[in-house]
Symmetry: C2
Subunit: 78 residues, 2 copies
């Protein structure tokens, strides 16, 4: 069964680079990766926060949050 993974970002250059490289490099046999642009989907900032996301870009795999480099603090997106 595939796991769902979320990649939260905000369109910043650091985010786009991480999306193209990391998020799109996950094993497609094991993960369905949902890309969430918090700049455009502000209503999902709360969801990201609840899951432990503190900054973007961030990848959530099996409930674990991995902050990748640093584009923007979540607070800046509210």
């Amino acid at each position: 069964m595939k796991s769902k993974a979320q990649f939260y970002h905000a369109g910043c250059p650091v985010c786009i680079s991480a999306e193209k490289s990391v998020a799109q490099s996950l094993d497609p046999a094991r993960f369905d990766v949902e890309i969430v642009h918090l700049g455009e989907q502000g209503q999902r900032v709360g969801e990201a926060e609840q899951r432990g996301v503190q900054s973007v870009p961030a990848l959530v795999l099996d409930g674990q949050v991995f902050h990748i480099n640093h584009g923007a603090d979540l607070a800046a997106l509210k």
Copy 2:
């Protein structure tokens, strides 16, 4: 052709978690992931540094460095 990817870490809990989740989730059809433990292979700290790694855990994909969460600064491993 497969790309070579390196995952640099230092054995810290944050590193191990990122290794198990992120590094081992990369598409095996596209990447050969080399795991480098800089705590045990101190002679490779210079190589990591030259590639732009500033802290561990870090993933290098196609020459791009992605720092994941934060376990330790590279300077602490010298």
